[in-house]
Amino acid sequence: MSAHAEAAHDGHVLHPPEAHRSSRVEAPVLGMLLFIASEVMLFGSFFTAYFFVRVGAEETWPLPPFELPRFVAGVNTAILVTSSFTIHWALQSIKRGNRAGLQAGLVLTLALGLTFLLTQIREYSRVGFAPHDGSFGSVFYGLTGLHGAHVFVGLTLLTFATIRAFRGHFTPEHHAGVEIPGIYWHFVDVMWIVVYATVYLL
């Protein structure tokens, strides 16, 4: 008799036991929360480096001859903030059973996120300095590049959610596949607001 058959014969189940859980936090949401907590620490270390450079710098910021494209980044900020509204609309739509709203919201969010990322890449090619141009260049590319990588991850998650939305997945009761990428997307948005306000404006 095989080991599996023996186990079945003894009345043992052949799969891991069901996880214990309460209604406090759904396991997928808890996973995303813990992930975001680790991300906050990661961004925190980059901001620490930024403020270290900034506090030690002279009066003018950014250090001459560097200049930051505030206007383009401001437009990009508006694009990313708008994408938070569209993902929120997408989720509210599916909660009301409006599948067309879900699909439209996700496509718009995806388009806005992609526009943000492409604009950032374009900005890199025109900004006039490179990561190896001193500590300012390193910290600027480090912070904005780290954020850009997060936007890329968010776009990947949203792509999966969009494909699933068009395949007829998600219902008013079951929409964790949109809700969880949505939480992540808002986190990416908040982090950009912090990056834009501190690096570009202040």
């Binding site: 209604s23 808002h186 607001i193 306000a197 404006l201």
Partner: protein, 216 residues
């Protein structure tokens, strides 16, 4: 305090708050750098104050509709180590008299915070299940039809979870006597009274005294 990332809607609110927070700081800093610093300090203090106040605020009262018909009564019993206590059984019996009663016994799976956060709950749940089984057997011996379940390690959460599926008319919370009860020290009974709009009876079970009585 509500977790700002517990749901998409909460996360969206956080985005709006972040926009407002940084917009005010940037506008103030554009007028004068020190004004920007002052606004930053002021807004941060307001945010910290709001968080502290939210933690102190009494919890929202949760209403749960009873599902009992005429002559019926649903009793939710919440107990852990005292679940097998004679005093508790007597109280349940007394409250069941004259009714077609349904009893749900919930044993919170008490666990250490570390084990809780690493999801190592198997031992705690097994121990709670063992106590629950023995208590249900004793209630059955006395003719009371009760069912049971192992609940969340946090007693108030366990009550809330149980109320969702079991519209109780009353709740009986059983604890050790004052001085020996962690639940009393943590204000579980008063917390439950503040949080749930269901009549709550607190039963003190002195297991040491009950064992002494049996020996004598």
């Amino acid at each position: 305090m509500r977790n700002p990332l517990k749901s998409e809607a909460e996360a969206f609110k956080l985005v709006l708050l972040a926009i407002g927070y940084f917009a005010l700081i940037v506008i103030a800093a554009a007028i004068n750098t020190w004004l920007g610093v002052a606004v930053f300090v002021l807004l941060s203090a307001i945010a910290v104050g709001a968080i502290v106040r939210a933690r102190r605020e009494p919890p929202e009262v949760r209403t749960h509709a009873s599902r009992s018909g005429p002559g019926e009564r649903r009793i939710l019993v919440v107990a852990n180590e005292t679940v097998g206590g004679r005093t508790l059984r007597e109280e349940v019996e007394r409250r069941s008299e004259g009714y077609d009663v349904q009893i749900l016994v919930v044993c919170p799976a008490l666990n250490s915070p570390l084990r809780h956060w690493v999801s190592d709950e198997d031992a705690a749940r097994a121990a709670a299940q063992e106590r629950l089984d023995s208590s249900l057997a004793r209630l059955a011996e006395e003719g009371l039809d009760a069912r049971g379940e192992v609940g969340d390690g946090e007693p108030l959460q366990a009550i809330e979870d149980a109320l969702r599926s079991f519209g109780a008319d009353e709740i009986i919370i059983s604890t050790h006597p004052e001085g020996r009860s962690q639940w009393l020290e943590r204000g579980v009974v008063s917390g439950a009274r503040a949080r749930f709009d269901v009549p709550i009876t607190h039963v003190v079970v002195d297991l040491v005294a009950e064992r002494e009585e049996i020996r004598n």
